[in-house]
Symmetry: C2
């Protein structure tokens, strides 16, 4: 068979220039989260197919890369369908493996466990610009803390990291709570068992606007009074902590005040403590698709770019599916690939400050002198300089131009004998 030069469909080779930016982003994330007491951990990229298809992953479960069973386990003749051929697959996110990891290793982990994960995930999405079938996720999760300290730390840590990575971009953190979402819908008069659909429609707010959402709710046969009451409620809210507390008064009949007060407290504390400049606001239309969220949800977007660069929330019921005992859990995921794209579009400024020096050595250099040149390179490297030792090409001008493109700013030329 002929060898193929291109990467597999939908995946890509990462060139050195982008690699530098990726590395910078990773380092900032790691350093920041570590300073908040998060500890790094890792799960295998390959996961049991049972865990990947346990309905935690929503639509992502349709996009799994399945791995063929091996050896005697593979019985092609008697296989009735795909499921008989596979027992594992590539993970589509880091949350399902984290839940498995925690259930497997809880005895050896601190309580609460503040986890930091950075790793590749795979989804067989239709290939399109900016979307790839292998991409990196950066997640932080706090397992075993039911208090709002978890939310506060997650928001502070993530905004601190983003502020370091993109100091020139202002961003906005929107926050909501699944219970408030529910309270507002119930208060408006929607029936309990129709709420899922209401939220699916509400989730389109940023695309079709208020009128669009109202129209679609009516199209779906919802009661006109409920819809207009809902729209009035949604649009009449102040998005600061005070607004959340007042909303709690309004919803007092359908929801305990502790929910809104708790969210307002989180907002007040984050605003008071944060050293990064960002906008924090309550967004009653924030839904976030993943069905596993049970409480607070949040999303971060970059001003002027309109894209979400991070998101997360509380999911208190997932770990229990593995362990049998519910464990409070709250997480934040940074959209690593989006941030890299933003930095690359801004010119990939985020490079390290190391001096890059190239030694160009004429061919045929005497061995002893060559060793001396290498010794010099070693001692410069020890002092923190990046030194590339390279043979001098005939077209020295072109060679230096190329090296300049690769970030080399100093050149030292070594000749066999003195230039005439």
């Amino acid at each position: 068979m002929a060898l193929k030069k291109k990467p597999v469909t939908g995946m890509r080779d990462i060139l050195p220039g982008e690699m530098q930016v990726r590395d910078f982003v990773m380092d900032q994330i790691k350093e920041t989260y570590r300073s908040f007491g998060f500890t790094q951990m890792e799960t295998p990229c390959v996961e049991h197919i049972e865990n990947l298809t346990s309905k935690q992953g929503g639509d992502n479960e349709k996009l799994i890369f399945r791995i063929l069973k091996r050896g005697e386990k593979l019985d092609l003749e008697n296989a009735a369908g795909e499921n008989d051929l596979v027992d594992t697959g590539l993970r589509y996110d880091l949350t399902v493996p984290l839940a498995r990891y925690f259930s497997n290793n809880a005895a050896q982990l601190p309580t609460p466990f503040k986890a930091l994960q950075m790793g590749s995930v795979w989804r067989a999405d239709r290939p399109q610009r900016g979307r790839f079938r292998q991409f990196t996720q950066c997640d932080i999760d706090i397992l075993g803390d039911a208090s709002s300290m978890a939310e506060i730390e997650l928001i502070l840590a993530t905004t601190t990291a983003l502020g370091r990575i993109c100091p020139d971009n202002r961003f906005e953190v929107r926050i909501n709570d699944r219970n408030i979402l529910r309270g507002m819908a119930l208060y408006s008069g929607f029936a309990e068992d129709t709420l899922e659909t209401v939220f699916i429609i509400l989730d389109k707010m940023d695309k079709i606007g208020c009128d669009g959402v109202a129209a679609e709710l009516l199209d779906n046969g919802y009661d006109e009074t409920a819809v207009s009451r809902y729209m009035e409620l949604l649009t009449g809210i102040d998005t600061d902590a005070g607004g959340v507390r007042r909303l709690g008064e309004t919803l007092a009949e359908v929801m305990p005040r502790t929910v809104t007060d708790g969210l307002a407290d989180i907002m007040d504390t984050v605003t008071q403590v944060s050293e990064t400049d960002f906008v924090l606001k309550f967004d009653p239309t924030l839904v976030r698709g993943m069905s596993y969220y049970t409480g607070t949800i949040f999303e971060v977007s970059m001003e002027g770019l309109g894209v979400s660069v991070a998101g997360g929330g509380r999911y208190d019921k997932m770990i229990g599916k593995f362990t049998g005992v519910d464990t409070p859990a709250c997480g934040f995921s940074i959209g690593f690939e989006r941030i890299v794209t933003i930095l690359m579009e801004q010119g990939g400024k985020a490079q390290d400050q190391t001096v890059k020096k190239a030694y160009l050595v004429e061919k045929g250099m005497d061995r002893d002198r060559f060793a001396g040149i290498m010794k010099q390179a070693m001692s410069e490297r020890k002092a923190g300089v990046c030194v590339l030792v390279s043979q001098m090409n005939k077209n020295k001008k072109f060679q230096k131009e190329q090296l300049t493109k690769d970030g080399y700013t100093e050149f030292v030329e070594f000749y066999r004998e003195a230039l005439k």
Copy 2:
């Protein structure tokens, strides 16, 4: 289906303690190699099955995790065998993907290209202690440099990195050349077309010793005179650069002197330039299994541990299989997992020097005071301290013991009111 807690067979969860050691090793490798002008790059973990089964990988090709085709491409009914079901697989090393990457991106890469890769690879080996089905490889390769500068830089860079990672271990670099291997066998009287088998037997030297190798050669029907001449030659060599040059004189009839002189020059230069303390010696019995090597080969082992921790060599014919044009190539692979194991066994000393401080906050703290505590944490974090903010447990003593295990050495306790 029930969810599974354990990782997939042969793969493993990495706990925070080991993760710190892994991270330390990665950082040292990255920093060292970068100072030598290597640039990081990445290929997808998923590779075309054609590339993975092109006979570059020897026995590793039997251990591939194959990925099921997706969508319309998967035609289960008409599939005659495994090959009809898969079009990709997980990479079993980083060298084959590097060759593909180089052939795909050469126009955008510097010449020579000094590549650094760190990533996971997968092999469905029989699970056993210390061997896993997913593991990390760290490779450096220089593509496009036919001169011995490549070998010199690779050995200097790798020994510098190892010296930083394991300052308490002395190591030994053994070096040979496939052409010398060939020359010695021809000189002894083995027929050209039987050399592969001779080398397979010679490769067992560290396990069965000189006598064992001689016996096995005789068992395989090789001529007694050739075997005894070979043994004499192998055992009579001085392992320094001088010895290599003298060997060149002996082999003058079957091999050009440039081969031995070249190797001796590499040895002299490395010895003269290196700032790391290690033993460098010529090993005429070093074979290294991979059939793709074409010239110099090298291997590093730790003194007293007897395990190889790095190895590599020149493979000038592989890139041409992708591009049609041969490109000189030389690489070194650090046995990342072995080094992590060694460090873990030595107590995982290689940890960062950050001060780790835990704030224990009594429950029910007034919100304003809590915000003040968090502000204090933020400013300590900014100053480089790792601060974990945690609720104070009832059993404070146990909580502090656990935190001490996780590396926390300072505790600050915050109470709602003054202790009586």
